[in-house]
C-alpha cells in the first residue's frame, strides 16, 4: 500500500517504524523538521519530504496522486483536518485518517463526513490512552485491559501472586476455580517470554496471565483468581495535561481524585473545568508536597506528564513514600522494559495503545482491532468472518480444522451479544468476531489472508 504520513513526531515515527517493516507498504513521511526526517531516513526504508504537509504542492511531491492512504498525525488538529480535505478534494485519496486531539472537535460527530471534513477514521491518542488508564484503575489488579467486539469481551492481564488461586494450577483445572463462568487463558508470559498455554501448563509465581472472558464476568474472574484486592478509591495524578485533565473528568464521580500541575495557568483552568477534583499547584517530585497530600494513603499514583524521566522519577518517589500502586506514562520503548521489572507497577506506552487502534484501519481482510500485548511481543487480533463454507477459509469449519499459521491461536468468538470461549470443536459462523492470539508478528499477513473472502463471495 502507498501511504503518506504527516508528522514525524512520537506518534508518526512509531507508526512509520511499524508500517515500514511490512514489505508491501511504501511510505512517504512529511514533516517540517528536517533533522527528524534525516534521522528517520537513516534507519528506515522510506521517503521523507520536508515542509508543511497540508500544502497541495507538497502532497503532490509526496505522490498523493497515487496514494492509497493518508495518515495525518501532526500535533495540530487543524493541519490534520486540512490535509485530509486537500487529499480528498484534489487527489481523491481513498482512505484518510486524522489525529484529532481536541475534545471540542470530537464532540460533534457530524463534523467528519464526506461532504464536510472528509476524515474516514479519527485517531485520538489522548482519548485512547485516557480510556486505557481508566480501565486499569477500574480493575485494580489488572496490568492491561483490552476491549473486543465493542467491549462485549475483554482481555485482562494479571500477575500471578504468591497466595493467589492461580499459582500451581494446571490450565485444564482453571474453570473449576470460577464455577459457571466460561473463560480462557489466552497467553502466559514468563520472564518476558511467551509460553504456549497448553492444558497441562502450570502457572508459576510472577507469571503474567492473559485471561479472556465476557465483560460482565471479568470482575468475578479477577477477584477469584487473586486474593481480592480492595477497589481503588484514592487516585493521585501527576500532570494535568490533556490526558490528566480528561482522566480526572472521567473519574471524579467515582473516585477521590487529586491532580498535581506545575503550570499555574493550566492549574487554574483545570480547577475551573473540574468539579470535585482537587487541583494542586506544584511539582510532583517534591516530597513535601506529596507528604502533605497523604501520598501514603493513595491507592494509585499516576505520572502523566510529557517528560518520561520526570514521570519515572516521580513514580519511584511516590512508591517509596507509600503509594500502593504507581503507574507511569513512558514514551521511550527502551525505558518501558527498564522500569517495569520492578520499580514501577505499570508502564503505559501511549504508542502501543495508539498503534493498535491505527493498525486496525490499515490491516486488510476485515480485521477490526489489533492490540499489542507486552509491548508488541505478541498481538491480539479481532477479525470478522464472512462468507460461507465454500468462499471462506474459516466459516463453517471447526476450530481444529482451520489451518492457522504457526504461533496463532483462536481464543474466543463473539456471536451477536454472546461470547463463546473457543473449544476445538466450536464451529465458526458467518459474521462471527473471531479473536486470535499471535506470538509471531510476521504471521499477521497470513491471518489477514485467512479472513479474506474468495472472489466468489462478491
Amino acid at each position: 500500500m502507498n501511504i503518506i504520513i504527516l508528522g514525524a513526531g512520537q506518534v508518526g515515527s512509531t507508526v512509520a517504524t511499524q508500517l515500514s517493516k511490512e514489505e508491501s507498504n511504501e511510505l512517504t513521511v512529511i514533516d517540517i523538521n528536517q533533522e527528524i526526517l534525516s534521522d528517520l531516513q537513516d534507519h528506515l526504508d522510506l521517503r521523507t519530504i520536508c515542509g508543511n504537509g497540508s500544502y497541495p504542492g507538497l502532497l503532490e511531491d509526496a505522490g498523493a496522486d497515487d496514494a492509497d492512504m493518508i495518515i495525518a498525525l501532526t500535533n495540530s488538529d487543524e493541519i490534520n483536518m486540512i490535509a485530509c480535505q486537500v487529499a480528498s478534494s484534489i487527489f481523491h485519496t481513498p482512505t484518510k485518517i486524522a489525529r484529532i486531539r481536541s475534545p471540542e472537535y470530537l464532540r460533534r460527530p457530524g463534523l467528519f463526513a464526506e461532504n464536510s471534513i472528509p476524515v474516514d477514521y479519527i485517531i485520538s491518542p489522548e482519548s485512547l490512552v485516557t480510556e486505557y488508564i481508566y480501565h486499569l484503575i477500574e480493575h485494580p489488579s489488572a496490568l492491561q485491559v483490552l476491549d473486543f467486539a465493542n467491549g462485549r469481551a475483554q482481555l485482562v492481564a494479571v500477575k500471578a501472586y504468591h497466595d493467589g488461586l492461580m499459582v500451581g494450577r494446571a490450565l485444564r483445572t482453571m474453570n473449576e476455580v470460577v464455577p459457571g463462568v466460561d473463560m480462557r487463558v489466552a497467553a502466559i508470559f514468563r520472564d518476558g517470554e511467551s509460553i504456549q498455554p497448553s492444558a497441562d501448563c502450570v502457572i508459576e509465581v510472577d507469571d503474567e496471565v492473559f485471561l479472556f472472558a465476557a465483560r460482565e464476568h471479568i470482575p468475578t474472574v479477577i477477584s477469584e483468581m487473586r486474593k481480592l484486592e480492595k477497589p481503588n478509591k484514592r487516585i493521585m495524578l501527576a500532570g494535568g495535561g490533556n490526558i490528566g485533565g480528561q482522566l480526572a473528568a472521567m473519574m471524579e464521580k467515582d473516585f477521590q481524585v487529586k491532580v498535581i500541575e506545575a503550570n499555574p495557568a493550566r492549574a487554574r483552568q483545570l480547577s475551573a473545568t473540574l468539579d470535585s477534583t482537587i487541583v494542586l499547584l506544584g511539582d510532583a517530585a517534591n516530597p513535601d508536597l506529596l507528604v502533605e497530600e497523604n501520598i501514603e494513603s493513595m491507592d494509585v499514583f499516576c505520572a502523566l506528564t510529557n517528560d518520561d524521566e520526570a514521570n519515572i522519577l516521580s513514580s519511584m518517589l511516590a512508591k517509596r513514600m507509600g503509594a500502593k500502586k504507581v503507574m507511569s506514562l513512558i514514551n521511550r520503548a527502551a525505558y518501558v522494559d527498564l522500569v517495569e521489572s520492578g520499580l514501577i507497577d505499570i508502564a503505559i506506552s501511549p504508542h502501543q495503545v495508539t498503534i493498535g487502534a491505527l493498525l486496525a484501519h490499515i490491516r486488510r481482510g476485515d480485521v477490526v482491532a489489533v492490540h499489542a500485548l507486552r509491548r508488541g511481543s505478541a498481538e491480539a487480533i479481532e477479525a470478522i468472518a464472512h462468507g460461507d463454507r465454500s468462499s471462506s477459509r474459516v466459516v463453517g469449519r471447526a476450530i481444529e480444522d482451520i489451518k492457522l499459521p504457526e504461533g496463532a491461536r483462536i481464543s474466543a468468538i463473539v456471536r451477536g451479544e454472546q461470547v463463546i470461549i473457543a473449544h476445538h470443536d466450536t464451529v465458526i459462523e458467518s459474521e462471527d468476531h473471531v479473536i486470535l492470539f499471535l506470538t509471531d508478528k510476521k504471521k499477521i499477513k497470513a491471518v489477514e489472508k485467512l479472513f479474506q473472502v474468495g472472489i466468489t463471495y462478491f
Binding site: N2, E26, L27, T28, Q34, S38, Q41, D42, H43, L44, D45, L46, R47, T48, G63
Partner: protein, 483 residues
C-alpha cells in the same frame, strides 16, 4: 565495523558481477572471434571467489550501518576495478601488462574512458564489447544496480546508495522504497541506452558499433571501438546524435524520472541546475566556435560549428569522445575545455567532475559574501530554484571543493615526480579525476606512453573522482576505524 556482514555483501556482489562476463562470451560465440576462453576463465574465477567469500558468512544478516556502507562501496569499486582487468589481462592482447589491464578496467568502470590500448580496431569483438559494457555498468553505478536486484540489502541499501550517488544532496528518493528508486533509475538508463543505440544504428553505424557506442555515450564514458573514436564514422548525423545523448545523460536522472512521470517538460525548465548546465555549455560553445572561426582552424563555418559543439559537449559532460585533435586546437581552447570538464555533469547523472550544482552553490555563496560586505546585517539565504539550501550542504560543498583541488594539486606534483612534463601531468590529472578521458600533451591521444607509477596514481585519481573523493578519503581517517 561489522566485517563479516561486509564480507557477505561483497561476496554476493561479486557473484552478481560475474554474470556481466556472460554477454562478451555470447558476443564471442556470435562473431566466432576465438577470444572466449579468457572470459570463461574470468567468469569462473570471479564467481568462485564471490562464493567462497559468501559461503562461510552467509548467515550474517545484520543491517548495514553508515560506516559499513562506505567500506563496502570502496572495496567493491576497488575489487571490481581489479577483477574487471582479469579478462583483459588473460586475453593477452598486445602483450598487455597487469598495470595496463587494471588501468583499462578502472578507466572503464569509472566511466573515464582513458585508454592504454592502441590498435583497438583490430581487437576481437568480445573484448571490445566488454570494455563498453564496463563503462555502461559503471555509469549508473554498479551498486545502484545491486540495490535494484538484491532486495535483501534493505535499509543498508540506502547507506550504499548514498556512498555512490554523485551530488551534494543525497537524500532525495524518487520512490519511497530504495529498491524501487534504484529500479526506476536503471529503467531510465536502459531506456536512454536503447534509444541511443537505435539512433546510432539508423544513422549508419553497424549494429555492433551502435550498441557499443550507446553504452559509452549514455554512461558518459568515452570508450570507443575505434582508435579514432567517433571521428572514425565521419558523419555529422552521428556526431549530432552523440551530442543529444551526452547532453541528456549529463542531466540529473531524477528530473528525467519526474518529467517522464508527468509527461511534461516543465521539470527541466524548473530545475536551476539544468538551466545552469545548459548555460555553461552554450557559453563555452559560442566562445569555442567563435575562436575556431577566427583562427580558421576548419575550412567551413558549418564544420567549426559541429566540431566545436561536439567537442564542448563531449568534454564538458566529461564523456571524452573525440572527432578532431582538440589538443592541438589554437590558443587557450584546449585548457578552457579541460576547465569546463571540472564543472562536469549535473548531480545524480552519469557525468563526472565537480557537478554543476556545487559550482552553482559556490557562485551563489560567493555572491552572498559580496552582499554581506555591503549589508553587514543582512540575512541572506542561498537559494537553488526556490528552495533554501541548508548551511550544512554549503559547508560540505566548500569542503569538497577544497579537497578536490588539494588532491589534484598533490597528484600533479606526484606525476611530475615520475617524470611527466607539466602539461601532461596537469591534463592527465584533470582527465582522470573528472572521469573525462583524453588529456593534452603526451596523453592527448591515449595513455599508453606514460610510465607505470603514473598509471597507478591515475587509477587512484579515477576512483577518487567516481566516488566523489570523500567516500574514499573517509577510509583513511583514524576516526573511521575506531571502535
Amino acid at each position: 565495523m561489522q566485517l563479516l556482514v561486509i564480507q557477505r555483501i561483497l561476496g554476493l556482489l561479486m557473484m552478481v558481477f560475474s554474470s556481466t562476463l556472460l554477454p562478451p562470451i555470447v558476443t564471442g560465440l556470435i562473431y566466432d572471434d576465438g577470444a572466449i576462453l579468457p572470459f570463461v576463465e574470468a567468469f569462473v574465477l570471479t564467481l568462485v571467489t564471490g562464493f567462497l567469500l559468501y559461503l562461510p558468512v552467509h548467515q550474517q544478516k545484520k543491517e548495514l550501518r553508515l560506516r559499513d556502507g562506505f567500506l563496502v562501496v570502496v572495496l567493491f569499486w576497488t575489487v571490481l576495478g581489479v577483477a574487471g582487468g582479469l579478462p583483459i589481462y588473460l586475453s593477452g592482447i598486445y602483450d598487455i601488462s597487469v598495470t595496463d589491464a587494471i588501468f583499462e578496467s578502472i578507466s572503464g568502470i569509472t566511466t573515464t574512458g582513458a585508454t592504454v590500448i592502441v590498435g583497438i580496431d583490430q581487437m576481437p569483438h568480445s573484448l571490445l564489447l566488454y570494455r563498453q559494457e564496463l563503462q555502461w555498468l559503471g555509469g549508473m553505478g554498479i551498486i545502484v544496480l545491486a540495490v535494484a536486484v538484491l532486495p535483501m540489502l534493505g535499509v543498508g541499501g540506502m547507506q550504499l546508495f548514498r556512498a555512490e550517488t554523485p551530488g551534494p544532496v543525497k537524500d532525495t528518493k524518487l520512490t519511497p522504497r530504495i529498491t524501487e528508486t534504484a529500479k526506476a533509475l536503471w529503467y531510465i538508463y536502459l531506456g536512454l541506452t536503447i534509444a541511443c543505440a537505435l539512433a546510432y544504428w539508423a544513422a549508419g553505424m553497424s549494429l555492433f558499433d551502435a550498441i557499443s557506442h550507446s553504452f559509452s555515450t549514455v554512461a558518459i564514458g568515452g570508450f570507443s571501438t575505434h582508435d579514432a573514436s567517433i571521428g572514425y564514422f565521419n558523419s555529422t548525423a552521428i556526431q549530432f546524435i552523440a551530442i543529444v545523448f551526452m547532453l541528456l545523460s549529463g542531466v540529473n536522472f531524477a528530473i528525467h524520472f519526474t518529467a517522464f512521470r508527468h509527461r511534461s517538460l516543465q521539470p527541466y525548465q524548473r530545475d536551476a541546475e539544468f538551466r545552469t548546465y545548459l548555460l555553461v555549455l552554450s557559453v563555452v560553445s559560442v566562445i569555442t566556435i567563435g575562436y575556431l572561426q577566427f583562427n580558421h582552424t576548419f575550412d567551413s563555418t558549418a564544420e567549426s560549428i559541429i566540431e566545436g559543439l561536439f567537442q564542448v559537449v563531449s568534454i564538458g559532460t566529461t564523456t571524452g569522445f573525440t572527432t578532431a585533435e582538440y589538443y592541438s586546437w589554437p590558443g587557450f581552447l584546449p585548457v578552457l575545455l579541460l576547465y569546463v570538464s571540472f564543472i562536469g555533469g549535473c548531480s545524480g547523472s552519469t557525468g563526472g567532475g565537480i557537478k554543476v550544482i556545487r559550482i552553482l552553490l559556490l557562485v551563489k555563496q560567493g555572491a552572498r559574501e559580496l552582499q554581506r560586505l555591503v549589508h553587514p546585517n543582512a540575512q541572506i539565504a542561498v537559494k537553488i530554484g526556490k528552495k533554501v539550501m541548508p548551511e550544512k550542504v554549503i559547508e560540505a560543498v566548500w569542503g569538497f571543493f577544497a579537497a578536490y583541488f588539494a588532491i589534484s594539486a598533490l597528484m600533479i606534483l606526484l606525476l611530475m615526480a615520475t617524470g611527466l612534463d607539466q602539461e601532461t601531468a596537469f591534463s592527465a590529472v584533470a582527465a582522470c579525476l573528472n572521469n573525462l578521458g583524453p588529456g593534452l600533451g603526451d596523453v592527448g591521444r591515449n595513455f599508453a606512453n606514460i610510465n607505470d607509477p603514473a598509471k597507478w596514481i591515475l587509477c587512484l585519481a579515477m576512483l577518487l573522482g567516481r566516488l566523489e573523493i570523500f567516500t574514499l578519503l573517509v577510509l583513511i581517517t583514524p576516526a573511521f576505524w575506531k571502535k
